[in-house]
Amino acid sequence: MSHSSHQIERNSLAFAIEKNVDVHTQKCYQCGKCSAGCPVATEMDMPPSYVMRLLQTENQAHDENILQSQSIWLCISCEMCLSRCPMEIDIPSMMDFLRQRSIKQKMVNPKAKNIVAFHKSFLNTIKYTGRLYELGLIIDYKRRSLNMLQDITLAPKMISRGKLHFIPEMIKGTPQISGIFKKTSKKEV
């Protein structure tokens, strides 16, 4: 807690992160341990500690760069960064927030569209059946991502091993699930 009366007005992404998920980016002193241990850091256009540094500048151009980055979508929520961060900065929660904000502000990086498409397809199948319907997921995902040929050989092998259902399992509480989706949808950041 700080002296509210002595604080300058802040309008940055870092401030939004502080307010919404209680992650304080100013705590970071750039040791880089998160980037050192991140399994996807080499794939990222900006490794996690670099994202932290950009946030610390509270500069609008930097904020936009972050929301348009691939990095926020490449984060796989493995939590390695958090478990090793000396300052216990909850980067995974922050990444969740950045993704939600990026969608809201329509700034999703074009290269990340597959990932967003997959998440949306995933939730979509749950919304209508209550459980994951893998075939439905794949069809919905292909429709969204337009990757028609991907994994075309995998499905038959899965079917032969009894790992893919043809008919979705509908749970009795499906209306309840739809209700949950509806009630939580307006809560998106």
């Binding site: 807690m1 700080s2 002296h3 509210s4 009366s5 002595h6």
Partner: protein, 267 residues
């Protein structure tokens, strides 16, 4: 309300507490505090928007403590009072079970004080809206007008000390007004002494008041004395960034300091 009664019964039946401090409807239809020791009588417990008294005042009373472990129906101000009482060693956390009531009247399950603390931290801790407006109005007056306002109010004071009796934080065995060497506050009621009493009271609650407003409600002649302590609640927040009663370990504003405390009037 149903949940509240169930929870109270559960606590009494399992002998987790010996008494539940809560609210019931009195014979005149008015809400009044009730001390339930028998689970069969728990059905009389109520909770609605009329239940605003700060029951924490009873937690330090010998007559209530003698029952043993106490359960208390607690709205946010009561929870915060409990925090202050624990941090000032007037109440042991082992000796109290809190039946929390959320802002929208639901029963909150607190596994322990830490969870309650977590809940309190998330709540809006400032003064109630109505008082905020009154404070703003008063703050707009000039010095002379303020002085006259309070002079008029204090002229009503009959030194009954209801403000003191109703406040959970006024638990001293001997109040400073009862001190006669020197006699800080004159015994009889007069404008000067009344004002000195209210300043003394407000200063003693500085950084300890949790904005329940009980003192103002208790005053039989309607002096808005709660505005004095609530004004200091605002000040403690703006200068030191703290509210009272948000942790069982905190020290009050006036018993701690930060080397970088800011002010602008000391030359």
């Amino acid at each position: 309300m149903h949940n509240l009664i169930l929870k109270a019964k559960e606590l009494l039946e399992n002998k987790i507490v010996s008494v539940i401090i809560g609210f019931e409807t009195g014979s005149s239809g008015k809400v009044r505090p009730v001390f339930i020791t028998d689970s069969n009588k728990a059905d009389s417990l109520i909770f609605d928007e009329r239940c605003i008294q700060n029951l924490a005042v009873y937690l330090t009373k010998k007559e209530v403590k003698q029952f043993g472990k106490m359960g208390i129906v607690a709205t946010l101000p009561i929870m915060r009072s409990i925090m202050v009482l624990i941090s000032e060693q007037q109440l042991s956390p082992e000796n109290v079970v809190v039946l929390g009531i959320s802002g929208d009247g639901e029963v909150l399950d607190f596994a322990d004080i830490t969870v309650m603390q977590h809940y309190i931290e998330k709540c809006e801790l400032g003064n109630p809206a109505k008082e905020q407006d009154m404070l703003a109005t008063l703050n707009r007056l000039n010095m002379q007008e303020k002085f006259e306002f309070w002079q008029k109010e204090f002229s009503k004071c009959i030194k009954c000390y209801a403000c003191r009796q109703s406040c959970p934080m006024c638990y001293c065995t001997r109040c400073a007004v009862e001190c006669n060497q020197p006699q800080w506050i004159p015994v009889q009621s007069n404008n000067l002494g009344n004002m000195e009493w209210h300043i003394l009271r407000a200063m003693h609650l500085a950084g300890r008041c949790i904005s329940c407003g009980e003192c103002g409600r208790a005053c039989p002649v309607g002096i808005p004395c709660h505005l004095l302590t609530m004004h200091l609640v605002d000040q403690a927040q703006s200068y030191f960034g703290v509210y009272a009663g948000i942790s069982d370990k905190m020290s009050s504003v006036l018993s701690t300091y930060a080397p970088n405390d800011k002010e602008s009037f000391i030359i």
